[in-house]
């Protein structure tokens, strides 16, 4: 079967998911669901999760594959968030402080991680997965013992150690979502968060047009070409890892403000997987990804997550959409993994 060129470019899996999504929306309309609310929720989710998906882009571009070690960056961002909360900084400045501290931590952490990845070429994804798991457990000890005193953060009964979930209500809950918020045809659009996501996407795009960004991409395409052009691919890989970790740190801060809670302990453990599913569904491969893949993927995947459950709940009781989503998500990752090199 031959498809017209533009459709082929878009990719059959994406096409299938888009059709599935369209069917879901159709059912929503048919059952008189609040369509605007569903669309609005989907858009909120894109802004909320977008940067975490974007964080995978530099790693792919740098030839490191899928960054299963994203929890490292996330942890940095969480430490930043907790410090800003402990200091009681409110509003947009709180978000800025959290992101700032997160980035400051993510740079050295990313360098260490990148150094490790340079020593384990070909096994980056495995090392990332396990390192992420190890660090999450280590940080759990840190959360328990960290000397934070702010009474809204510590456990209610024990009086020390951080709670699993920290509420941002009244601190910087949704400050970016509300900033520049507007409504189109009854659909609420969280302007500020989208602006931040868009801005970071643009900066990332711009970065890959700078000298450093171009060398990162060149080193990924051909190590030997890069060497001949005077580029050290060890260095570009390191830069890519640091950038990915930094974006992960910013990503979780933006995520948390939009979400209203900061989640500690085991929460970062599996956060890399949905992000990876997003970018792959967007059409990226293990070796190639673009900003377009990030945006399309986040939109499709997060919309499915938002829409599938409420809509199928309308149609059938005791639904199987949760299981279906599991199969779709991992099926997509598998498809991408088995397709590389034959594109």
């Amino acid at each position: 079967m031959r498809l017209p060129g533009t459709l082929r470019e878009f990719g059959i899996p994406r096409l299938l998911i888009a059709v599935f999504l369209a069917v879901l929306f159709g059912v929503a309309v048919a059952t008189h669901m609040d369509l605007r609310g569903l669309i609005s929720d989907s858009i909120v989710r894109v802004g909320r999760n977008g940067i975490l998906v974007l964080a995978l882009l530099p790693a792919i571009q740098g030839g490191l594959g899928l960054n299963f070690g994203l929890p490292l960056g996330i942890i940095c961002g969480l430490v930043g968030a907790v410090i800003s909360l402990n200091a009681g900084v409110h509003g947009i400045w709180g978000v800025a402080m959290a992101a700032g501290i997160g980035v400051a931590l993510a740079v050295p952490v990313g360098m260490g991680y990148g150094w490790l990845l340079n020593r384990t070429r070909g096994q980056e994804m495995m090392v990332g997965t396990y390192l992420g798991f190890a660090m999450v457990s280590m940080m759990s000890v840190f959360w328990l013992l960290a000397p934070f005193k702010n009474p809204t953060l510590v456990w209610a009964i024990g009086g020390r150690g951080l709670r699993t979930t920290l509420s941002l209500g009244g601190i910087y809950d949704k400050v970016l979502d509300r900033w520049l918020e507007f409504t189109v045809a009854g659909v609420r659009i969280p302007g500020g968060t989208l602006v931040v996501f868009g801005g970071l996407s643009f900066l990332t795009w711009l970065f890959f047009r700078t000298r450093m960004g171009i060398s990162i991409a060149a080193a990924r395409s051909s190590t030997r070409f890069a060497r001949a052009a005077g580029i050290s691919d060890e260095r570009t890989r390191l830069q890519a890892t640091v950038l990915s970790t930094v974006l992960g740190a910013i990503g979780i801060v933006i995520f948390s403000q939009s979400y209203g809670f900061v989640q500690l302990y085991t929460a970062p453990l599996l956060m890399a997987f949905p992000a990876i599913a997003c970018i792959l569904i967007g059409g990226a491969t293990v070796t190639r990804a673009t900003i377009g893949h990030v945006i399309v993927g986040t939109l499709l995947f997060q919309s499915i997550l938002t829409v599938a459950l409420p809509v199928t709940s309308q149609v059938i009781q005791g639904d199987i959409s949760e299981t279906a989503r599991l199969i779709i998500q991992n099926g997509m990752i598998l498809y991408a993994l088995t397709r590389v090199g034959r594109a």
Partner: protein, 397 residues
């Protein structure tokens, strides 16, 4: 040759930075430890206090970590404080207990390896507990074992534990609806997901709720949420609840009540209801500290830690500030804390032949003594086994 030298030094530089990083982290956690000693002077002091009760044997207790729910872990600590560190062995089960069943078993069997241990209490008998208890019985039939809030099949638990106790989930199917009716609710949303609905009591409770709703003229809606044990993790579940509550309110109106079978959903559910309207007649595990302090952003100064009167008052205050008084209800004491402490004391007394844990009246009076309020108690199976179901009357915020 000089080239090789630089290579070696460069090769050493890397590990050194990593080591330095590790050292820094270690230092950080040391600072954390130091912070702990001054920040928790109370806890430390209470731990060093002589035990309230002297016993001639040891107690083993297993609970979750705080990230699974604070009440449970603190209940364990209270047992330690009561009987003294030398007489209580406390362990925790892993955060991903669903996958690490072997660790659950190892922890429990490990408790029984001490010949002095005569009583074991499993605070939230998560999957794997039954297997572990069977293994303990093989070698140590003398140990009294209590299972609090078992997750595994109740019929199997009833055959296994010396005593098992949990809130009367089936009766709660009616009481919760009654509370909701009292609040003037027209619609009732029940959040859950397939894994929980494969637990018999939860599934049966849902059916009872459905029936009770019908009898009381309330519309019942079952809504599937993502499983927090799925690979999207808890965040996916919580995001869903935050989006879905306003959606349901829009669809069914402000007189809608929300209920969920999963602890992780409590924080976002209470918060979203607080801001958008609706009712929360009871949490999955009723307790003043379950969900409320986080969702309401309650500050708890060190000297008030664990003071339920204070926490209840604070909850009430914040809810009133949001003009939502009367929209929330719970039990006055954390049910899991109550169960763990009661079961422990009861089994300790039984081991010293001072009480009989098989006597329903004793169990009831013991519970009420701990709760300070009347308790409704019933047996899971009147004919065999020693499993109890209990109910506490509600308080309203």
């Amino acid at each position: 040759m000089s080239r090789t030298d630089t290579k070696i030094s460069r090769g050493l530089f890397g590990p050194l930075t990593v080591l330095a990083g590790a050292a820094a982290l270690f230092a950080m956690s040391l600072v954390g430890c130091a912070g702990k000693t001054d920040g928790t002077a109370n806890a430390q002091a209470s731990a060093q206090k002589p035990p309230e009760v002297q016993i001639p044997f040891k107690i083993g207790i297993m609970t979750g970590t705080v990230s699974q729910g604070e009440d449970e872990f603190r209940a364990g600590q209270m047992v330690v404080a009561k009987y003294g560190q030398d007489h209580v062995k406390m362990v925790t089960y892993p955060d991903n207990f669903m996958q690490e069943q072997e660790t659950v078993i190892a922890q429990l069997v490990g408790l029984s390896s001490d010949p002095d241990v005569k009583v074991i209490v499993v605070g939230q008998a998560i999957p794997g507990s039954v297997a572990a208890v069977r293994k303990i019985r093989e070698k140590r039939p003398d140990i009294l074992i209590g299972m609090v809030e078992p997750h595994e099949d109740p019929a199997i638990v009833n055959q296994t534990a010396d005593i098992s106790i949990q809130p009367d989930q089936l009766a709660r199917g009616r009481t919760i609806i009654n509370v909701a009716k009292g609040m003037g609710v027209t619609d009732f949303i029940h959040y859950s997901f397939p894994r929980h609905m494969s637990q018999e009591l939860l599934a049966r409770r849902r059916d009872i709720m459905k029936q009770a709703c019908a009898e009381n003229g309330i519309k019942f809606h079952f809504v599937t949420a993502p499983d927090p044990m799925g690979e999207g993790g808890l965040p996916a579940t919580q995001q869903f609840v935050m989006e879905d509550v306003p959606r349901e309110l829009k669809q069914y109106g402000p007189k809608t009540a929300f209920f969920s079978t999963n602890c992780g959903m409590m924080d976002p559910m209470i918060r979203t209801v607080l801001n958008n309207g609706g009712y929360v007649p009871e949490q999955c595990c009723p307790s003043p500290t379950h969900g409320y302090p986080t969702a309401l952003g309650i500050a708890i100064p060190p000297d008030k830690a664990g003071d339920f009167a204070y926490i209840n008052a604070e909850n009430k205050k914040v809810i009133a500030e949001h003009h939502m008084t009367g929209h929330f209800a719970t039990w006055p004491v954390p049910e899991v804390m109550l169960s763990i402490r009661t079961v422990t004391d009861l089994l300790v007394d039984s081991a010293m032949k001072k009480a009989d844990y098989k006597d329903e009246a004793t169990v009831k009076s013991s519970m009420e003594a701990h709760a300070g309020v009347p308790i409704k108690l019933s047996k899971y199976d009147e004919k065999k086994g020693n499993s109890y179901l209990f109910l506490v009357s509600n308080i309203y915020y």
